[in-house]
Amino acid sequence: MRTAIHLTFGALALAGLTACGSGAAPAPASSSGPAAPGKIAVAANDTECKVAASEVAAGTTTFAITNGGSKVTEFYVYAPGDRVMAEVENIVPGLTRELIAELPAGAYETACKPGMVGKGIRNPLKVTGEHKKLTADAKLAEAVASYKRYVKSQTDTLLVKTQEFVDAVKAGKIEEAKALYPVSRTYWERIEPVAEIFGDLDPAIDGREADLAEGDEWTGFHKIEKDLWIHKDVSKSGPMADKLIADVKTIVDKANAAELTPLHLANGAKELLDEVATGKITGEEDIWSHTDLWDFAANLQGSKAAVQSLRPVLEERAPDLVKTLDEKFAAAEAALEVHRKGDGWQLHNELSKAELKSLSDAINALGEPISKIAPVVAK
């Protein structure tokens, strides 16, 4: 059964939020005052998001989210501007998943997202207590930590979705595998700059046939893509599927252990847009499935997540740049949004040249200000 996943930008909107989200959200079932030490229960279903506390002490907080609904859900902790402090995705009905969040004092919002779409059901979360004012270095360190939390959340789901994809391939369920292909790649494409740190693994997972040199072995997503769409036969794809999930597991471990720097974030944000400009707009990434817009959306989201992590630093050092980035991200998202179709996107070969040009213009417009982040961070 295919899980419907909408890749919404609302989840990552940079635009500043008003203090409280959805007025329709039920009042949190919680006492006032800081919660007792231990886990904070979150009872989620298709229409509600009951967080057992609305105020916690600065430091480490663990949430235990139980999905009592019928739709797959996600749980987020947002700082102002919808900066993701922590998130856990893919909480299937009946499951309880834990989320550990490091939160300095401040005003936050929690959100459950039944169906994994939209802004979610929001509740305010106040964090009180001592926390030292961050030095510039500490702010940068926090930016990196914030981005690493994002990478963690993405890699968790990447493993789950790639496993589902691999299982479908091995079971010979071609239609199911085709549906899962762009979905599993979404989590990959969001964090690809981190993956690229690890040399040979990236091409092993994501190499295209066109990239091969004489005598190279071809493995990964795109080889299976060709089996699914061109050969229409996955009876011999099992070993390739096994290798894919093994490689993904290896890279996930490495990615979460990677020492990242603020410059990695800044350059990663730029590289993701470069990926869009050179591979996705041209349709060269997914030449058989034509699912390039899934990758496009994921690259854009990943780029935004990296920029968001740096936002507190950028707001202090280059407020005008933040304003420009907000504008240009919104414009790029709007240009892409036009092509949403059902749970996903239009296929690349359904877009006219004029439509592709408008996407290209939006990415160029965003790419220039994004290239100005690195020197600001490096100051």
């Binding site: 800044a266 213009d361 160029n364 965003l366 220039e368 690195a374 020197p375």
Partner: protein, 441 residues
Amino acid sequence: MSKATEPERPAGGAEPKATEPEAGEGRRMSRRGLFGLGAAGAAVVGAGAVAARSLLDEPPVAHASSASDPYPFYGQHQAGIVTPAQDRLHFVAFDVTTEKRAELVDLLQEWSAAAARLTQGKEAGSYGAVGGAPEAAPDDTGEALGLPASGLTLTIGFGPSLFDDRFGLAAKRPAALADLPKFPGEQLIPEISGGDICVQACAHDPQVAVHAIRNLARIGFGRVSVRWSQLGFGRTSSTSRAQTTPRNLMGFKDGTNNLKLEDADLLREQLWANAQDGSAWMAGGTYMVTRKIRMMIETWDRTSLLEQEQIIGRDKGEGAPLGKKREFDTLDFTAKTSDGQPVIAADAHVRLAHPSFHGNAHLLRRGYNFVDGSDGLGRLDAGLFFIAYQRDPRKQFVSVQMSLAKTDPLNEYIKHVSSGLFAVPPGVRDAGDYWGRTLFD
């Protein structure tokens, strides 16, 4: 790759004016190491700060003393019109993508500052290709490092599509900027026609022309989008008597009878718009028509010399009118052969295009050859990127082209595939002024 030797400056010709008065770095300025803003890169202040210094009395520049020197950017008229045609072209047309008038004005100011720098052989931005922070993308793309100004001129124009309701310019659209009619036989490709704004970059070095357009396009991302662009080589017109007449890809001298910068009275009458023409903001400006004309050169090359010369109306070697000896001999349309036929055929290209048949309408042509590789059918994708400046396209280009399109036997060998029409505003007076200020004030 110059086809012509450096011409002698005619006796009594205007003294070349090679450098900006304020740009004290002297001639042969290299782009390296000029990190100071200088006058050209000074922050452009808003409208109303235009200095009173009049440039109306500046003599026209006959030609720079060498192909590496700069031409002044500031002046009553934009450079790149009567400037002796340089050998290379990179022409670009943009669509404006921003919906905010203020952003468009900001862009024109940024562009003007960059153009003032680039034309003087400096880098596009104040840090340059290698002078900024190592973590930053350089504010100049770098491929012109170490190259001289190379006679670079940058000329801006505004297309009819800019004069809609997006920026409140509808009422400012000049009458002379009327959409061109459909000409018989044209096969225009919309994707490479039109545009809200154009910039013509001409230089003696193609790398310098491309560098300029590339940096302007980059500055424009998010506000404008490149609609189409065209490279050209081998100027196909002379715009000064100091220049020899070049040849187009048909092998014929092109532009013998062109308007020249020395023709002061004709330029006033035929080239420059003035306030009495109906659009005060265009005073000192002019109108540009571009046509990309694909030549079927393979069939042309199989055509006899006799037929080629009869189609054009001039001899191929010298460029003299048929029946005459020298290139600049007067065209005589009444001359008859011994058997009573006109020496210059009734439908010869030079006759159909001659001012005497169009109410004395002249054009200042400034076209370039192009070869865009090959067309996949074993033929060169080649021809003429025609550019013409005039005071009123309705009376000038349209009149000439209509008669050519209807009866020119040359049509068997050419095809118009793109078209552009632009109002070219007056020159930028100084660092406090900007491209198109009179339109947006």
